[in-house]
């Protein structure tokens, strides 16, 4: 097991090198002068030169890459062009809302989607199944911002149950945080729920046709227990895989959701960076998110052996 984890961690190194190379080359291979684009149309030549030296674009390309990788290894994600603050500092300032949003979405989606998928598989081809499948098809089509604004309109503006926008940090109390995060979590979670519900249904349907399910019935096990104990644990591996894939997809959705709900997290950091063309911030966020994605995948793979004793490393 430990050997496997070490092997897998080593295998992430080439992936991360490719990611680093990619964001690095992006800056250098794009046609035109990136410094000029970043500086904007109204910039003076002096300003463009300033940005060029800040980005290190005036040095030979190999030297730039070595410097870049060495600083990454030190945990330095770069420095913002405009605020001159290290990207890591900016990230730390904005981390809490994004992490809270992502985890709440995960919890909300799993809590709703798995029962939905189990129910749909149990009552396959019934009205419930059709509703769940219909929801799942719809969930893939609804853009996050449409769902977000609809939820705000219904629950915050019309019903006045929840705050319209904004985020209350955990330091102000968990209850306040929960109230501010519940709508964003549902808006962001819609696609995720659709994904998990669909795979849960498919996976459960496959498992329910297995011989050992018939054995469980023949033993006199109650239906609920057949579903939730015998079947669900067997269906878990594909479900957990999709939860992992989905969590990685959420990262993209976080950016849009934070904009809709005015949450000062990493997504807002991204949007501000876009508006100011602050490329080092985007570069740093890409490295950070890619690293998170790779680690999530690793954790998912390790979790398989917990669900299926046949999988051993």
């Amino acid at each position: 097991m430990t050997a496997y984890i070490i092997r897998r961690l080593l295998a992430t190194i080439p992936v991360m090198i490719v990611v680093a190379l990619f964001v690095f080359l992006l800056l250098h291979l794009t046609p035109g002068d990136p410094a000029a684009v970043i500086a904007g149309d109204d910039a003076s030549p002096a300003e463009i030169d300033g940005i060029r030296s800040k980005l290190g674009l005036d040095r030979p390309i190999w030297e730039q890459f070595v410097i870049y990788v060495l600083s990454l290894l030190r945990g330095d994600l770069g420095t913002s062009i405009f605020s001159n603050l290290p990207v890591t500092t900016l990230v730390m300032q904005r981390l809490e809302p994004s992490v809270v949003l992502a985890l709440s979405t995960l919890v909300v989606a799993v809590l709703f989607a798995i029962p939905m998928g189990v129910l749909a598989a149990w009552k396959a081809r019934s009205a419930i199944d059709r509703i769940v499948m219909g929801f799942s098809v719809l969930g893939f089509a609804l853009p996050v911002f449409l769902v977000g604004y609809l939820l705000i309109y219904i629950f915050a503006i019309e019903l006045r149950w929840l705050p319209v926008q904004g985020y209350r940090p955990l330091s102000q109390g968990v209850w306040e945080t929960a109230r501010s995060i519940i709508l964003p979590a549902f808006a962001l979670g819609m696609v995720y729920m659709a994904l998990i519900a669909r795979i849960t249904r498919a996976s459960m349907l496959e498992v329910l046709s297995e011989d050992y399910i018939r054995t469980a019935h023949a033993k006199g096990v109650a239906k609920k227990s057949v579903l939730l104990k015998h079947a669900l644990k067997n269906a878990a591996v594909p479900i957990v895989t999709v939860i992992g894939i989905g969590l990685a997809l959420l990262i993209s959705g976080v950016v849009i959701t934070e904009t809709v709900f005015n949450i000062p997290g990493l997504g807002r950091l991204t949007v501000d960076a876009i508006l100011k063309r602050d490329y080092p911030i985007i570069q740093g966020l890409i490295i950070l998110f890619a690293g998170a994605k790779v680690l999530i995948n690793l954790m998912i793979d390790i979790s398989y052996s917990f669900f299926d004793p046949r999988i051993r490393y």
């Binding site: 006199g220 067997n234 299926d308 004793p309």
Partner: protein, 351 residues
């Protein structure tokens, strides 16, 4: 569902001498597919006596497995259901019993083991846990007591080092061991009836005999009655007291095992016997070398109502009447039922 007195209701089978524990009367199970209704079991009746071994023989698709699943009420709801007849266990009707009461019978009073030991055990739970679950459900044993009893059951089915094996997962066991575990699960609550659906078919020949002997030995020890479903007349000869031959969802012949092997009356039974590998001169089974005699043709589709004898198209004795009228199941010899218009001619023809 009560006994339907239809025109082709079979007569009561050979009079039962001992006391009957499981009684099946005119059982009809149908599956509803997009291409029509499949009459998988079409009026089956039999009695099982306390402690006896009854074999049900037939080709795949003759309804023998479906009849077993019907007794257990394990026919998948969305696929088919029991449409008529009755199943009584110790005098209680099972076909209209509420599901929660039926659950108390399954795995407790009537148990079942299946053909595929490789896939019939849940891969994500230890075998000990899978045996203990039955005990917890039906006998209300606590976690520890159930686990201890599971280990005892494993030693009862002659698994070496039962305490270690109890903590293992099915994929760590061989096919024969898994079938032993299935037997342990089935017998854990000391059931009155054990239905074994092709329990040895998927196993190696050497293991087959071990598993059959184990079942028979435990049957003697625990007094369990067994319904053994098989397509293998060799298994029948070694294990059964009484035999039912099924064809196209119906019983075509029933007799004690000696009687059946000595005087097969139905052409289909004869066909089955013809396709047993004979012992060669050296006394070894010539399963590989000797060519098996096959019954020509295929099992008929059970979608259409067959007016006459379902076996007629494949039968060398078939006359004009056979494809027109259904032969009744009648005693032709003492305690020997057969459903054939040409019994006299069949009996007169040497094998």
């Amino acid at each position: 569902m009560t006994l339907l007195a239809t025109a082709d209701t079979e007569p009561a089978p050979a009079p039962a001498s001992g006391d009957v524990i499981l009684s099946v009367r005119d059982l009809r199970t149908q599956f509803f597919t997009r291409d029509g209704t499949v009459r998988a079991v079409d009026g089956l009746s039999y009695d099982l006596e306390r402690g006896e071994t009854l074999c049900i023989v037939g080709e795949s698709g003759c309804g023998k497995s479906v009849s077993a699943l019907s007794v257990m009420r394990l026919i998948p709801e969305d696929a088919g259901r029991i449409v008529g007849g009755s199943v009584t266990f110790e005098g209680t009707e099972l076909t209209d019993m509420p599901e929660h009461e039926m659950r108390r019978i399954r795995g407790n009073r009537i148990s079942m083991i299946f053909q595929e030991p490789m896939t019939s055990l849940n891969p994500v739970f230890t075998v000990g846990e899978q045996i203990a679950e039955s005990l917890r459900i039906h006998q209300g044993l606590g976690g520890h007591a159930a686990a201890e009893r599971a280990v005892e059951m494993l030693s009862l089915v002659k698994i070496a080092d039962p305490r270690r094996r109890a903590g293992e997962y099915p994929h760590q066991l061989s096919g024969g061991m898994r079938q032993r575990v299935m037997i342990a699960i089935a017998l854990a609550c000391n059931p009155k009836v054990l239905i074994a659906d092709e329990p040895t078919t998927a196993l190696d020949v050497t293991i087959q005999a071990q598993i059959l002997n184990l079942m028979l030995e435990l049957k003697e020890r625990l007094g369990t009655a067994i319904v053994l479903i098989t397509h293998d007349l060799g298994v029948v000869a070694e294990t059964a007291q009484r035999v039912i031959v099924m064809y196209a969802g119906r019983k075509v012949e029933e007799a004690s095992v000696e009687e059946l092997f000595r005087h097969p009356l139905h052409p289909y039974t004869r066909g089955l016997m013809g396709s047993i590998p004979r012992r060669s001169a050296t006394g070894r089974r010539s399963g590989v070398r000797g060519r098996l005699q096959e019954i020509p043709g295929i099992v008929p589709s059970l979608r259409e109502e067959i007016p006459g004898c379902a076996f007629a198209p494949r039968c060398s004795f078939a006359g004009e009447r056979c494809s027109r009228e259904k032969p009744p199941l009648e005693p032709h010899r003492p305690a020997h039922l057969a459903a054939c218009w040409e019994v006299a001619r069949v009996a007169a023809t040497p094998r």
